[in-house]
Symmetry: C2
Subunit: 377 residues, 2 copies
């Protein structure tokens, strides 16, 4: 099987599984318990948090463990925004980019129900934030700006450095970056000190599903997201999922240490795929500023779903843009925001790679693309 | 090491670890993806949900996967209560028992901030709900009653059948049961059809930390708890943590199939421990209606923390009542509600057993108790 759906979820690394197994069976004490096994578990938790904080260049106190990137995004748009409303009662706007994951978009009605006005920051034809338009939206009225670092459907990389510059004039605006798709090849994008809140998801970088991260800088206020025993400095209660947390710390280390080499490798794979698809006369979305691990392309008028199933017959697994919306048959939000007409976007598939993607996988992908193109065009 | 802190967290079973490992490495597709690996993952998720629903005697559509018992409790007191406020604008009361876990207690200010009145249902000297008092609190004003099935500090088993009878006159009251401590030996308590919402936690029955369950009967309305890709029927978005979910389903099967035998075994262990502690003239809390897996006892004026450390020197790990509050040095809420004076409750420790507790563990516990008593009295 040749797996090209790494933006949906990745296969856990053997080394991560070994960590999960060892921690589950050896450090099964509750970090809140006072006995030695509890203390050892607490130390392991502290160590995982410290390792992650060092890679992300924040302080350990700014790293919170959640259950998913979705939870992290919900925490920010609810827990952080609720505090912002209290701190700045006269500011009533939130800026959301036009190419967000559903875990941001689906919260817009929640924000509006609180009396907030949600402004949508548009993107250009490559899915990249329109900086002039964003500049026009920034004002004293804005509480929070939220956007992803790397788009999950097309792979567009957002100009974080330029956004950071724009925000210099608005120190009161809380800047939330959804970095979930940036961990494969664009981790360094997330090190900008101006970022106030950062969401990450372990299973996008070969850790197990069920652990997310939220970085909340100390300057940001939040109400607790889960109330209870006071874990995570009182803001996210619940017994810590130590095995998968330790696995996530290990996976992030591996991802960071191997990032430069992976970036180079996936860039060459991506170029081969894009060149091949061009030759086959597929439509390719995104442009120069696209992450090395994602190719979004279509063969209109063949529906994306038909392409997914046809490729699967050749043992090649791809997805119809975002997995989170594909079973719900939603419109292709990123492509729509990029002004791609519906008859084209309905054919789009997402080919997404990760650490385990090999040259052989790419060879098989190209063969399958060739066969499927001939069969369905 | 002799582990008697199973009410804080349990060691995962080898069979559960095998399931987690196999699912993580074989079914790494996202259940939302349309390709065959996604479909297989979706089928596995459906099967885990069905197995759990059969054990709990509810329909699969009523089982939701969360990240912890704490999250399940937060969901009910926020997501379900928010809907109840809309449905019944003239009802403004919520009843909470006096012996709840912090994940319920800490939400009382949140309920009050919404204009709700929180009534505390008192318990008797054994930590069991005072049914006459509860009857007096029930009225047309009440939206929701929440209490645990088995107390986490003392082990008191609540009279669910009697509560169910009382609620017959109040069909509009939503009944939430926190069943987290009931899964070791009292699972059958949770099968009452009148229960509307039920919280469970995988790591209390030898699954991995990071997976909880919430049963929400179809008759109960809720707003989404996490917004996003629409997983869990649209109410709890986020990529499903399939490996630990499958492990939790397996652990619940093992727990249910072995429950009768375990109950008998732990009852005999508990009797030995209680008899021995009585002989050593310890104070023992709880009475006849106490779960087989918990013994709460103290040796005043020795502080509980000192007892925990002294027993640890004999390789026996126990806890100072609930792990969730022990590092925060909270007051002993359950014992306080049972009218146990502070000079006694400050000495209380909790000895809690699970599936892996052996006769040999109990032998060592008794030896350690004897030595520690002699040393510290």
């Amino acid at each position: 099987m040749h797996y090209f759906d790494n933006s949906a979820t990745t296969q856990p690394l053997d080394s991560v599984m070994a960590t999960v197994q060892q921690v589950a069976q050896t450090y099964y004490g509750n970090p809140s318990s006072l006995h030695p096994l509890g203390t050892q578990s607490k130390e392991l938790l502290t160590s995982a948090r410290r390792q992650i904080s060092e890679i992300l260049r924040v302080s350990p106190e700014e790293v919170y463990f959640t259950s998913s990137g979705t939870e992290s995004n919900n925490w920010v748009l609810q827990g952080v925004v609720d505090e912002l409303i209290i701190i700045h009662p006269n500011r009533r706007q939130v800026i959301v980019s036009a190419v967000e994951h559903p875990s941001i978009f689906e919260q817009i009605p929640v924000l509006e129900a609180k009396g907030l006005e949600v402004l949508i920051a548009p993107v250009n034809g490559e899915g990249v934030l329109d900086l002039e338009a964003l500049k026009g939206l920034l004002s004293d009225q804005v509480l929070l700006l939220t956007h992803l670092a790397v788009n999950n459907e097309v792979g567009s990389i957002q100009p974080l450095e330029a956004v950071s510059q724009l925000l210099k004039n608005y120190p009161h605006i809380v800047w939330h970056v959804d970095g979930v798709q940036a961990t494969t090849t664009q981790l360094q994008l997330l090190f900008d000190e101006r970022i106030d809140c950062l969401s990450l998801s372990g299973h996008k970088f070969h850790a197990l599903r069920g652990t997310g991260l939220l970085v909340l800088k100390e300057r940001v206020s939040t109400r607790p997201f889960l109330y209870g025993g006071g874990q995570e400095r009182g803001y996210r209660s619940g017994t810590e999922a130590l095995p998968t947390i330790a696995g996530t710390a290990r996976a992030l280390r591996v991802a960071w240490e191997g990032q430069d080499a992976l970036k180079e490798r996936l860039a060459s794979y991506r170029q081969r795929i894009v060149d091949y698809l061009s030759k086959l006369q597929w439509e390719i979305y995104g442009g120069n500023s696209t992450s090395e691990h994602i190719v979004c392309a279509g063969l209109a008028p063949v529906p994306g779903e038909v392409l997914v199933h046809a490729l699967a017959e050749h043992q090649v697994l791809v997805s119809t843009t975002s997995a989170c919306s594909s079973r719900r048959q939603q419109f292709h939000s990123t492509l729509t925001s990029m002004q791609v007409p519906e008859h084209l976007s309905a054919s789009a598939i997402r080919i997404s790679m990760g650490q385990l993607t090999s040259q052989e996988d790419v060879d098989q992908l190209l063969k399958a693309l060739s066969a499927v193109t001939e069969q369905l065009r």
